[in-house]
Symmetry: D2
Subunit: 261 residues, 4 copies
């Protein structure tokens, strides 16, 4: 069965900005869907901010193996309830790929627990991504590096927790560097942040970027059955203890009581 990828697109600039609309006539989400569907083992669809519940209903998340997230100007319009629902899906085992300006999305900041800030410059400069983890699944089929001729600069320090693995580090023409591909695990969910993708440039039409995205979807996919309740904190009663023990000492909780949250 193919991996079910859902691309979440903010879909605002495509509607309001002629440059973006011309670069991405099907929307950035449309370009991403096409890129993923070129892989027969992936079946991608898209939803957008404007859909009811931003397209991220419980049902949609339940049938999404890997979610890709592109947002920029409208991070604040994403409902907190939907963000929490997505976070729970990740903890349960859904993969998540956060793209470019998504570094400031609510969901990425929610899962990182850090500001996720950086420095930036929109000057169409050259970016060169070096593979720092050779033969990592996300770097499959790439050489030692690849270039994107026109990109926005993102510079360190990048306000993220120490990554599980650093897969790409970028060189920028104007003198900065950036950890451009980093992995995390949050609960049962695999998370990948991938830097390139400024809406004013044709980044998501580049074959090498398509390759990375397809690799990332495969990597992020956790085939295990989702965890039913990723927040569960079950009490283990004394008589169910795996080793025989006798209750003793003071008691705060009445028998059968739920834990406090």
């Amino acid at each position: 069965m193919p991996i079910r990828a859902t691309v979440w697109g903010e879909n605002v600039h495509e509607q309001k900005n002629r440059l973006v609309a011309e670069l991405y006539p099907k929307g950035m989400h449309g370009a991403l869907v096409d890129a993923l569907n070129a892989d027969p083992e992936i079946r991608a669809t898209s939803v957008t901010l404007q859909d009811p519940e931003h397209g991220l209903t419980a049902a949609k998340l339940a049938e999404t193996d890997v979610l890709l997230w592109w947002g920029h100007v409208a991070h604040g319009e994403v409902s907190d309830a939907v963000v929490e629902r997505v976070a729970e899906a990740v903890w349960s085992g859904m993969g998540l790929i956060v793209l470019h300006s998504g570094h400031f999305s609510k969901i990425f900041k929610r899962l990182m627990g850090t500001p996720c800030n950086l420095t930036w410059r929109e000057a169409g400069e050259r970016e060169r991504l070096w593979v720092t983890a050779p033969n990592h699944p996300i770097a499959a089929g790439l050489g030692s590096h690849f270039e994107i001729e026109y990109e926005e600069m993102y510079g360190e320090p990048f306000g993220i927790p120490e990554p599980l693995e650093t897969v790409f580090v970028s060189w920028f023409q104007g003198g900065e560097v950036f950890r451009s591909g980093v992995t995390y695990r949050r609960g049962a969910g695999n998370v990948f942040y991938f830097r390139p993708g400024h809406e004013a440039y044709p980044t998501y039409h580049l074959p090498v970027v398509h390759q990375v995205l397809r690799n990332a979807v495969r990597w992020a996919h956790n085939p295990a059955k989702r965890i039913a309740d990723p927040n569960a904190a079950p009490n283990v009663p004394v008589d169910k203890a795996l080793e025989k023990i006798v209750e003793r000492g003071g008691k705060l909780h009445a028998p059968g009581e739920e834990g406090f949250r």
Copy 2:
């Protein structure tokens, strides 16, 4: 100059539950303050949930090098604004030590980005903490392990991100294990979670626990000047680029415009 430690105490059970009140007549926060002040290089004070802004005003955080957090029954009563203020202080460089049931505090979940859940049992059973990182500063002066005769059980899986370092792993009489001492870095702030400390037992009167807490305060202290704005995402204009570049390509942002959040 001594390290300025602030103990945040929920201070609810001490007021309502006779058992806890008798064990901790000065409050759990009071016992923690005394334990820390036994170290001449630490100067500890306490604040509680009931104080205005829970005692965690901007001014108080500015003069706190390391914050210790004990809460349990009233996590939900902590204001979201205060939680965000504490998170920003951590990102700026304040140390944070989260104790026991604080695993479910808003601030710990905020910084971890995960559910922080676990299994539990209140049966006064024996816990033995093994030092898995010998000679780690937080384990200074300890042997290979130490025991707490009466403790609540917390069992794996513990819903946290992979730690930077695992310092303690607990054995429980009833058959469970738990990663009882784990470190993280969030922004410029050092974070330590320490498991023991159920309010129905005299854990915070034990000298070995005092030793760990004092060690942890010293470890968590970052003497660097606080970062002024840990969320800053400054634009670097083309004419300020460290390497000479020429602007080119499409433009989304008008000159001098702030980035989107």
Copy 3:
């Protein structure tokens, strides 16, 4: 194409100790091979210490996707040249699963860079392995924990580097804990250490252990083409620099000279 697994067996106790010979009439390596071959996507074979070059010729390693290693009494008899060859294969992308007393094998110590020591006791006590990374591929199909009724105890501190991921933590009847399943990446190779497997007990006949081993083989398999020379440190001449630069300053190396090692 199935994953090609090679089981390296020390095969000494099986020849000299009646107890081990009776438990493992086909050798421990034989039991491991059978367990893996029950998975149609794995094709396992075995080699032993007694084979020429311990069975680990360059040709054999080239056709091994994942190597499993069980050794105990004869670590010192393994040739340093073979150890280095195996290390290079791992760096090139071969997976490696180190079992039980293999914690003191030359290859594991070589790849970890640490003593890999621990405490131990042979008393046939109960071990309970808790899954600390729910839904990790290595824990596929397991519940929250599993038990092995008769096992040797290994206790913390375990002298390893901080793992990439901690998948299992063991509880022992006699009071110890141990990080029983830990992952690493060394070069392009995935490495997994799995604790259980004392030769005096029937551990490698247990279905749950078979499940872990098959999971681990699938996880450790890196399908990418092997890196040709994992030690290469190529010079990039000035005229091949990706950005145009002009040579300047003092020179230590003559043109075209190899780097020092």
Copy 4:
């Protein structure tokens, strides 16, 4: 008491190459010693390859809190026995700072368990080191970045294990990037690799580099008493088990027998 730092200098180029001799009339080790001793809390001395046992006798290591290592052309002349002695000192708690071409030293490769390879170019190009872990103790007193006008290029992929923390990432004029400051813990010892320091340039005369080195010495210093035997793997007899257990099952080891290595 000041931190006792020992600088290990290869001291070969200084004797044979006029350029290096002129840049470093007291030897590179001499320049490093002076830089460290400018800090009243550090007391630095040096030893060299040419000293008996390369200056790294058991006695010298016992009174060294932090060892700095600079070598290049003569890695192969360092005795394996001395390397092992240094590794054991690190596991016991001695700090280690490996400099520049020391990436290929026996001791660094020994502790990493990986090839530690990279790409390189000697062209006197500009290097800019970005601080990726703001307010990390090793970055104390630095701004967001610093530049070295003339340096050798080292490029990714850098064949190291995933670092505990990445403190610096370098930008090079010729188009490469490199993880230039990375931390590890090996046993009780803190390890830091710092990239700059090609012998054909005056890098070790730069105040900003001196600052990093002094910071690194303070960070690497573990004040705990050294671990007596970092390789110990003690047996815990049944009658000394912390929880009462009864021996059962088969036995491989005779009572009181040492473990196999």
